[in-house]
């Protein structure tokens, strides 16, 4: 039997934060968008720690600010790190200084089953045709471009949707991304795996850092400690992939063993009990390898979120990269559908900005892991910049649009690492006079680059059409007044009529 065929402007595969973001921002421009989600929400997901640009930038563009506030997620004013040479945790706060802690200097720790559902239901309210329990079976394409998808509906029927664009937001385990015809390239230095579970009754950092994520390095890797409520904590060990075999056995013993060897987390969990029932009762593993696809776009199709790339979880970037790329994809598709910008140019901007964001976080990651120098540990030795193989480094860095020689990349990584370690030392312990001020950290070149677009997105969310953005890329485009499409800055110099309000 041939499938039922429908048509739409855009089909989005996947209802996580990336898929919800792109589909909502397309529907806001009046496009017909169908979102296909293979599961039924709410559903469990990992990646619980958010960054301010998602909450205050993307959140406002989507119109979910009040709903997020009402959900009473744990407020995170930054990250606390037991990392590097300082035995006391130090803070990376979102506000540069206490007197400048404005409306955007916090993010949330979220239970993803709640957060993701808020975003998906909001997409539907904005006119997106959301279909759950609808796994995609095939991408329909010809030599010129991708033309649509086939999927199985909730009654088991085969259906086909033809669309001008297909957005793959289906995450890290799906194979849909292969239809852009690129390759998924893994970084040789960050092939980590994560083993994680949930605890009730763990200790909290002293206020005002109670809601911060705590990342604590130990011999075999590092542990995330995320307060999801006053009593519930998400705890995960990020370790070398060489441990994978061990994890086939008793995962609880393995996780408790890692916790036992990480002093601060051991102390925090001393009186806590592991959750053993319900959604949070399971101990899970995830391959947290850092990777990027060699291309994010092909005519008619674009990748966002984990379908495109993933970076180590230490900076809480998962949801940021997903929602950021969702915004970029919406801008590009809206521009092409409006006839304002050619598909080539719109997606060159998409890919250029997305790769830049990935690259700056990758540089930050390299510098960050390099700080935790511990020559006696296999895990940390293998992640020291000086032990990077220049050929492998070159292959990866040139792919994400950085410098083109391995030697240059190595020099740059060493420099970033030195500047970062220096800034961490000057900043000092958490909750001290200097430890509350982020001037040293924000002033390092690598952090400055990391903050640039996140700041732009936040200013856009808060100030709306009054936000002024300069091109980020050479000869690049800039967002239009509503932030949902691209404009060529060289053709916007004409005076704009100021309509009477």
């Amino acid at each position: 039997m041939s499938p039922t065929v429908e048509s739409a402007d855009v089909v989005v595969i996947g209802g996580g934060p990336g898929g919800s973001t792109v589909s909502t921002l397309l529907a806001k421009r009046g496009h017909r968008v169908v979102l296909l989600e293979k599961e039924t929400f709410p559903r469990y997901q990992i990646g619980e720690s958010l960054l301010p640009s998602t909450v205050h930038g993307i959140g406002r563009l989507l119109g979910v600010t009040e709903e997020l506030e009402a959900a009473q997620f744990m407020v995170k004013r930054g990250g606390s790190f037991r990392w590097g040479s300082n035995p006391v945790p130090w803070n990376f706060l979102f506000a540069v200084a206490p007197e400048l802690s404005g409306p955007t200097s916090y993010a949330y720790q979220v239970e993803r089953l709640k957060f993701d559902e808020i975003l998906l239901r909001n997409a539907a309210r904005n006119g997106v045709d959301v279909r759950e329990n609808a796994p995609v079976t095939e991408v329909v394409a010809d030599d010129d471009r991708v033309r649509g998808v086939r999927y199985t509906d909730e009654d088991g029927g085969q259906r086909e949707i033809r669309a001008t664009f297909v957005v793959d937001a289906s995450g890290n385990r799906s194979r849909v991304h292969q239809n852009v015809r690129g390759e998924r390239i893994y970084s040789d230095f960050f092939k980590n795996i994560a083993l994680f579970g949930y605890f009730e009754g763990g200790k909290r950092l002293p206020a005002p850092d109670t809601g911060n994520i705590l990342c604590a390095a130990f011999d075999e890797g590092w542990i995330w400690y995320i307060p999801l409520s006053d009593t519930l904590t998400s705890v995960g060990a990020v370790i070398s992939r060489e441990h994978a075999a061990k994890l086939q056995g008793d995962q609880e013993q393995a996780l408790l063993g890692f916790i036992d060897r990480c002093a601060i987390v051991k102390d925090f969990l001393a009186g806590a009990t592991r959750v053993t029932e319900g959604t949070y009762g399971e101990i899970r593993t995830r391959k947290d390898y850092s990777y990027t696809n060699s291309t994010f776009h092909r005519p008619g199709m674009v990748l966002v979120g984990d379908a495109a790339c993933f970076i180590d979880p230490v900076f809480s970037t998962g949801v940021h990269l997903a929602t950021y790329s969702g915004l970029l994809a919406a801008r590009s598709i809206n521009s092409v559908l409006a006839g304002d910008v050619t598909e080539d140019r719109a997606f060159a901007e998409f890919e250029g900005r997305y790769r830049r964001e990935y690259r700056v976080f990758y540089e930050f990651l390299s510098a960050f892991y390099d700080m935790q120098s511990d020559e006696s540990s296999y895990f940390w030795r293998a992640r020291k910049v000086t032990n990077f193989n220049t050929t492998d480094l070159e292959a990866f860095v040139s792919l994400v649009g950085g410098v083109h020689s391995g030697e240059q990349a190595l020099t740059q990584a060493r420099k970033s690492s030195g500047a970062l370690a220096d800034a961490v030392e000057r900043t000092g312990d958490m909750q001290t006079e200097s430890g509350e001020r982020m001037h040293h950290l924000f002033g390092t070149p690598v952090v400055r680059e990391v903050m640039q677009e996140m700041n732009n997105i936040q200013v856009r969310g808060i100030r709306g059409a009054d936000a002024k953005e300069l091109p980020l890329l050479d000869n690049g485009l800039v967002p239009g007044p509503d932030g949902l499409s691209w404009m060529d800055p060289s053709v916007t110099a004409a005076p704009v009529l100021e309509e009477a309000k």
């Binding site: 400048l100 409306p103 001037h439 400055r448 200013v459 002024k468 300069l470």
Partner: protein
């Protein structure tokens, strides 16, 4: 395109982002007391970068007064 940087333009831009009347604050008033926050600071830094300034918002945050910013943005003219 935007007007070149001048002391008057600085005053005007600051008044605009703070939603205050130009002239309602002095050049050496601490603008944090006038409701300046990081987002407003970032938007000012972007405006002035477009007009040729090299100063980022971190530099502006060091001493948030019109007077200090004019020295930072136009070191020659402000002497």
């Amino acid at each position: 395109m935007t007007a070149p940087l001048s002391l008057d333009r600085l005053r005007g831009d600051v008044a605009e982002v703070l939603a205050e009347e130009p002239g309602s604050f002095a050049d050496d008033d601490n603008l944090l007391d006038r409701g300046l926050d990081s987002i407003r600071l970032m938007s000012l830094a972007t405006r002035w970068r477009e007009a040729g300034s090299q100063a980022g918002y971190l530099e502006l945050a060091q001493e948030p007064t019109i007077k200090a910013w004019w020295t930072l943005l136009a070191p020659e003219e402000s002497k």
